[in-house]
């Protein structure tokens, strides 16, 4: 469905994506993760055909998305800057949606809007930040596009609405499986929902793997310095910290035998992503030395 090969995007002199390669062949829910400014939105815009790549190539349904009608009709990108015609009310926007997206679930969209308590008489411009995000997400979900790209869809929503919207995504996905790529800073919040993680870091794909694999990638070990230090020679170390009398380290989980006197625990996927993309310039503690 989506293929990226050595995809590159430069804005003027600054290189956002330098060499992005990955392939997605089947409908699933994917979490797009990465630090601020790493190019998550840029990647989604390239896939949606809203931006033109500056190198490499990207294909959606076997076609280059930029200026491709077939791609535009089957891909929706939901982002907070989305604009709708300012003269229309929400009701009119939803009623016209089927003209652009033949599978548009008009009834579902109205039901969801009523449920979250947003009046269909509003204009899009009048909505609060949170309401705008809710409406955009409802619109995106209702298009039932084969490729649904959600860029930080939950930004600005309160916690209760977020939980409801995650549930709505899951329910509609089960009923109508499609490829959903969702970017977020809050991996932990959506860990239950996603099947694969696509992690961007420094312009490339740092990791593209099933969630369960990511959860098993790293271990936190805590114990005495004499016990921990010899272990660290045998594996890749993501992080270590000595807080006398204890020594803590985050290491790659490669089946290394950990002595029973050392406490070990696997990390959550969001912690693994955090350590994989952490600054190489030390930790925040170093600034306050």
């Amino acid at each position: 469905m989506i293929q990226c090969e050595e995809l590159e995007k430069r804005y003027g002199k600054s290189n956002v994506l330098t060499n992005v390669s990955f392939q997605i062949e089947e409908p699933k829910i994917i979490g797009l993760i990465g630090r601020n400014g790493v190019g998550k939105s840029t990647l989604l815009k390239l896939v949606a055909g809203h931006l033109k790549e500056t190198g490499g190539n990207v294909q959606v349904f076997g076609k280059r998305p930029f200026n491709a009608l077939h791609v535009a009709a089957n891909v929706i990108l939901i982002e907070d800057k989305m604009s709708f015609p300012p003269i229309f009310t929400l009701k009119e926007i939803l009623l016209h949606a089927k003209r652009f997206y033949p599978n548009f679930a008009t009834e579902l969209a109205f039901d969801l809007l009523l449920y979250v308590g947003i009046s269909e008489k509003n204009e899009h411009m009048q909505l609060s930040k949170g309401q705008t995000a809710v409406f955009n997400l409802i619109y995106g979900l209702a298009t039932r596009c084969a490729v649904t790209l959600l860029d930080e869809p939950m930004n600005g929503m309160d916690e209760a609405v977020r939980a409801d919207m995650y549930r709505a995504i899951l329910k509609d996905y089960i009923a109508f499986p499609r490829l959903i790529i969702m970017s977020s800073h809050y991996l932990q919040e959506m860990e239950h929902l996603i099947e694969d993680i696509l992690l961007l870091h420094e312009g490339v794909v740092e990791l593209y793997a099933p969630l369960e694999e990511v959860q098993q990638m790293a271990l936190r070990i805590v114990g005495q310095k004499e016990e921990i230090e010899p272990l660290l020679e045998k594996v890749h170390v993501f992080y270590k910290r000595e807080q006398s009398p204890l020594f803590e380290a985050i290491i790659e989980n490669n089946g290394l035998e950990i002595p029973a006197s050392v406490k070990s625990q696997s990390l959550s996927a969001s912690e693994v992503c955090k350590y994989l993309t952490s600054s190489k310039e030390g930790t925040i503690d170093d600034i306050f030395k």
Binding site: I29, Y166, S268
Partner: protein, 123 residues
């Protein structure tokens, strides 16, 4: 639901354990049909693929079996199988803890074995 996305136990293992508990509680019957991965996804609010992985482990462990086109079913002696595995697993874990504690307290092997034998006699 007694399931926790923040736990360090992967969700699909928690799903497998939940299904095992349902079998032990006889809420899922021998030879009976089990929830589909989509039903589990809705019940626990998780990705259907994750739920599917939970079912797959139980098929691998011969607790469930697949009937083509009909779904997953509980093996006739599933309950006994679960109990046997858990017994082995839990007992091994406890024995490990006892051995470590004994080491910490400088209790010798002979003393430990004598202690266990004595408890067995009293029990």
């Amino acid at each position: 639901m007694d399931f926790n996305a923040q736990s360090t136990t992967p969700i699909y293992i928690q799903i497998a354990e939940w299904l095992e508990n349902e079998i032990l509680a006889v809420r899922l019957l021998p030879e009976g049909k089990v929830y589909s991965q989509y039903q589990l996804a809705e019940i626990f609010n998780i990705n259907p693929a994750t739920a599917g992985k939970g079912l797959t482990i139980l098929v691998e462990n011969e607790i469930l079996f697949k009937k083509r086109g009909l779904g997953m079913f509980v093996v006739a002696d599933a309950k006994e199988r679960i109990l046997a595995t858990r017994r082995n697993h839990n007992l091994t874990k406890m024995a490990q803890e006892i051995v470590h504690e004994a080491k910490r307290l400088a209790v010798s092997d002979e003393e430990l074995i004598t202690l266990i034998k004595q408890i067995q006699k009293e029990g």
